[in-house]
């Protein structure tokens, strides 16, 4: 009997440890990323580091302004086309397509989500970049190429989360709306979508987070010039590319500046995620 109790206690402790592991992991990650990045940010000055457009790390000029704007530009351009397309597909799958067809589409989306980012980057480099160079002009390696590849990559996130949000809306809403003489589309646009809006916004924000954090695919197709892009066809460097691009040869302050770039990225993503989970919590408390 006593032995039984002892092993029960032991099991609980073991489970508690495994639950604690992820908390510990995030603490260590935070500590190490900050420890490596903060000193340089402090040295350069946060304003200068974030907004200075001059990145000449070998000459002591550490400003990631161009990269911050670059990340935002590529991300924004990718959202511009993938959000409408993704939400429309989600609506189609949840409301319009016959269930069997919706299942097939869901498989496609799943597959799209499963393709590794290097494969997307490779495809972008071999197909999209030359296409842009030959048909639209410029070098090909550009904001546009990045936006196309990133948009494809975040489609699954947007579609899946929006679809779940739409499916979670009580079907009574639709029944009631139809019973009032609304058409199917009127029901979708005036009742279902407004009711699912917080879930759809979550989908967009998570897609945005994924786009900002994506590295390899972007690195391969954007040309990585550390200047403000002046057109869709101009090359651009994102924060993530900056890290992989220069990690190999960086030393001293230069390396620290790359870690500092990672720190900025980390803080940005954490804030984005906290905002989502807090607003979702507020959403569930406000709702029925």
């Amino acid at each position: 009997m006593k032995k039984n109790k002892l092993s029960e206690g032991l099991v609980e402790i073991l489970l508690r440890i495994s639950a604690g592991a992820s908390v510990l992991a995030i603490i260590i990650i935070t500590v190490f990323i900050f420890y490596k990045g903060i000193p340089l940010i402090a040295k350069v000055g946060i304003i200068d580091f974030l907004f200075n457009l001059k990145w000449v790390p070998t000459n002591g000029s550490f400003g990631i302004g161009a990269m911050v704007i670059g990340s935002l530009a590529v991300t924004f351009c990718s959202l511009v086309w993938s959000v409408p397309l993704g939400i429309m597909t989600a609506i189609l799958m949840a409301e319009i397509a016959p269930p069997k067809l919706a299942d097939v589409l869901a498989r496609f989306v799943e597959l799209l989500a499963g393709i590794p980012s290097v494969v997307y980057g490779f495809f972008g480099l071999i197909v999209i970049v030359p296409f842009i160079r030959n048909h639209l002009g410029g070098v090909g390696l550009s904001v546009l190429a990045g936006a196309i590849v990133l948009g494809i990559m975040i489609l699954p996130t947007i579609i899946n989360i929006s679809r779940d949000a739409i499916l979670a809306i009580p079907k009574e809403y639709k029944e009631n709306s139809l019973a009032l003489g609304a058409t199917h589309y009127q029901s979708i646009f005036r009742v279902i979508l407004p009711a699912a809006s917080s879930g759809i916004i979550t989908a967009i924000v998570l897609g945005l987070g994924r786009a900002i954090g994506e590295t390899m695919a972007v690195l391969m197709v954007t040309g990585n010039a550390a200047v403000l892009p002046d057109s869709l066809l101009a090359p651009v460097r994102t924060m993530t590319s900056n890290i992989v691009l220069e990690m190999g040869y960086a030393a001293g302050d230069h390396q620290a500046a790359l870690f500092a770039t990672g720190t900025v990225l980390f803080i940005f993503i954490v804030i984005l995620n906290l905002a989502v989970s807090i607003s979702m919590k507020a959403g569930t408390e406000n709702g029925n």
Binding site: P98, P99, P170, E172, Y173, K174, E175, N176, S177, L178, A179, L180, G181, A182, T183, Q186, R190, V191, P194, A195, G287, N288
Partner: protein, 251 residues
């Protein structure tokens, strides 16, 4: 007494299962008709054939004819949307849309093309008054409707139906989720509404059927067993099965 709805040989199939076996039933204008019977007897299915809401369920097939004012609602020329505007429906669980009280009521009229603010205001007020809800909510009609109590929500849903100016109102166990006080308010409201509307109500509660309805139909296993004036059916049932049911021998 005018016949509002004339149902002939209505059959409904869900895939292989036959849910209704040829229902013939006349429903009269400005009267309350109650449909009673044990769970799964087909009464709700029948109700939903009247505004063709069954069609939303995959694999459903309906046969037979239903005439609304002598027009077959299952004929090809019928516009389902226009039909549903004429035949409103109140569901078991009050389902208010996640918007303000005002927007809930204005939803239907807006969909049907009314944009004038003044006109909408008056429709909202009129509907809420008719649903006996105006006094309780007039100070907060721009607040979220989700904040209302269950009974208020159900009356809000009725007001929302009234706002589209239907001729027939279908009610599918509208009181089953309500407390006794809300229920009696609802029954009172039904009594007032029948002056203007034709009402068909599905209920589990035989006392309720007896209190509110003029006619009652008893359903069992997809058949309409007996249909007559409410008083006759409860006091003097013709069929053994009806008698067994209303005396509580099964169900």
């Amino acid at each position: 007494m005018k016949t509002k709805l004339e149902c002939k040989e209505v059959k409904v199939f869900y895939k292989d299962f036959q849910a209704l076996h040829g229902i013939d039933m006349d429903i009269f204008e400005n009267r309350v008709t109650a449909l009673i019977g044990p769970s799964g007897c087909g009464k709700s299915t029948f109700l939903r054939t009247i505004n063709r809401l069954n069609e939303l369920i995959e694999g459903t097939r309906t046969e037979g004819e239903i005439y609304l004012d002598e027009k077959n609602i299952y004929s090809n020329e019928i516009d389902v949307v226009a039909l549903r505007k004429k035949v409103g429906m109140v569901f078991q669980k009050p389902s208010v849309f996640p918007m303000s009280i005002y927007e809930n009521i204005a939803y239907g009229p807006k969909i049907h093309g009314i944009k004038n603010k003044g006109k909408l205001d008056s429709i909202v007020e009129k509907s809420l008054v008719a649903a006996n809800l105006w006094q309780e909510v007039k100070d907060r009609i721009h607040k979220p409707a989700a904040g209302l109590s269950g009974g208020q929500q159900q009356r809000l849903v009725i007001a929302r139906v009234l706002a589209v100016e239907p001729e027939v109102i279908l009610m599918d166990e509208p009181a089953s989720a309500l407390d006794p006080i809300s229920t009696s308010k609802l029954e009172e409201l039904i009594g007032e509404l029948k002056k203007q509307y034709t009402i068909v109500i599905v209920t589990h509660n035989m006392q309720q059927a007896a209190r509110v309805s003029d006619f009652t139909g008893f359903f069992l296993n997809g058949f309409l067993i007996e249909y007559s004036k409410t008083n006759d059916l409860f006091v003097n049932p013709h069929d053994k099965k009806t008698e067994d049911y209303i005396t509580g021998r099964f169900g």
